[in-house]
């Protein structure tokens, strides 16, 4: 299924925005939802935080799977959007960039690698990582919130 993501901080996102921007949020509703880094609730929360700080968030669009270009190409945004924040993995971000080549697309998340999921244990586990997150291999996160788990519930195969 997919990618393990972790949210960038609000300060990191703000450093790429200006108060004059008209901002659209586009969120995936697949892997990022399992990681607590996307989906309706996370998108609402981010929009609320940005608006509270004086940013102009005009659009919020939920797509089923941002890595499927057909969904991102059909996302209809208000005229005059200057920044899009992608609540997706890097793959979804690529797809949004292809769909909106004239708009600056900012990553809301970092993509660590790929996961296995255990709904019964309530965890996702990072099984293969990108170079920058090599030391995180085998880390587990609470399903739907992405909170790091201190105790490992799924043993790695030797």
């Amino acid at each position: 299924m997919g990618a393990v993501t972790q949210a960038r901080s609000l300060d990191e996102l703000k450093s790429e925005l200006s108060k004059a921007d008209r901002i659209a949020l586009i969120s995936c509703n697949t892997c990022v939802r399992f990681c607590g880094t996307g989906g309706v609730e996370r998108m609402e929360e981010l929009a609320f935080q940005l608006r509270k700080e004086g940013y102009s968030v005009t659009d919020q669009v939920l797509v089923t799977a941002a890595c499927i270009c057909d969904y991102t190409q059909r996302a209809r945004l208000s005229p005059g959007i200057t920044k899009v924040i992608a609540l997706t993995c890097d793959s979804g971000w690529t797809s949004i960039r292809r769909a909106l080549p004239n708009v600056d697309v900012i990553k809301a998340n970092r993509t660590l690698g790929i996961m296995i999921v255990s709904p019964s244990k309530g965890v996702i586990k990072l099984m293969k990582t990108y170079e920058a997150y090599k030391d995180r291999l085998g880390d587990e996160f609470e399903l739907l919130t992405g909170k790091p788990k201190s105790e490992k519930l799924i043993p790695m195969e030797e």
Partner: protein, 169 residues
């Protein structure tokens, strides 16, 4: 979606099997289905048919919605409809990503699970192409990220491995 290629040819695969083996062909029906048809029902059936034609004993064809969900894999080991096949099986051939392979190793300890997939990164799908393209490769592949996406056949060629199903009809 996750992009996976194939490390083996059909001939390589046969060398890892014996005529006495009781074989399960296991296919994921999610990302790998869109990896030039490496997984999914057709890839599973075509491989199983060819193995049977070549005299191998395929005891089960197992299609699963998502092999990266550990619980779904585990259910196959305990549910009445499937338990017996997996108890008997000596070999599982995974048409999955490496996550699926890892889950199979965790659940079916002691079985020979053929090391088929090479997961090379994340990619994007478009119905214009009818398949996935690689956009965010893992660095250890040496492939470069590309917003347009690299066709999987090209990625496989650069890595000296294979894309798509073992057997096409």
């Amino acid at each position: 979606m996750i992009i996976s290629l194939r490390k083996l040819t059909y001939e390589d695969l046969k060398k890892q099997l014996s005529k006495e083996d009781k074989i399960v062909v296991w296919a994921c029906n999610n990302c790998v289905r869109f990896c030039d048809g490496f997984g999914g029902r057709d890839a599973m059936n075509n491989l199983a048919d060819q193995l049977e034609q070549d005299g191998f004993n395929v005891i089960r064809r197992e299609l699963i919605g998502m092999s990266c969900v550990l619980d779904l894999v585990h259910l196959r080991a305990i549910e009445d409809a499937t338990r017996e096949f997996f108890e008997q099986a000596t070999v599982i051939i995974p048409l999955t990503c490496e996550d699926g392979l890892d889950n199979l190793k965790m659940v079916f300890k002691g079985k020979k699970i053929i090391d088929v997939p090479k997961t090379v990164g994340l990619g994007i799908l478009s119905t214009d192409w009818h398949t996935l393209r690689l956009t965010i490769p893992f660095e250890d592949t040496g492939l470069k990220p590309t917003p347009e996406g690299m066709p999987l056949e090209e990625a496989a060629k650069q890595l000296g491995i294979y894309a798509g199903p073992f057997v096409t009809k």
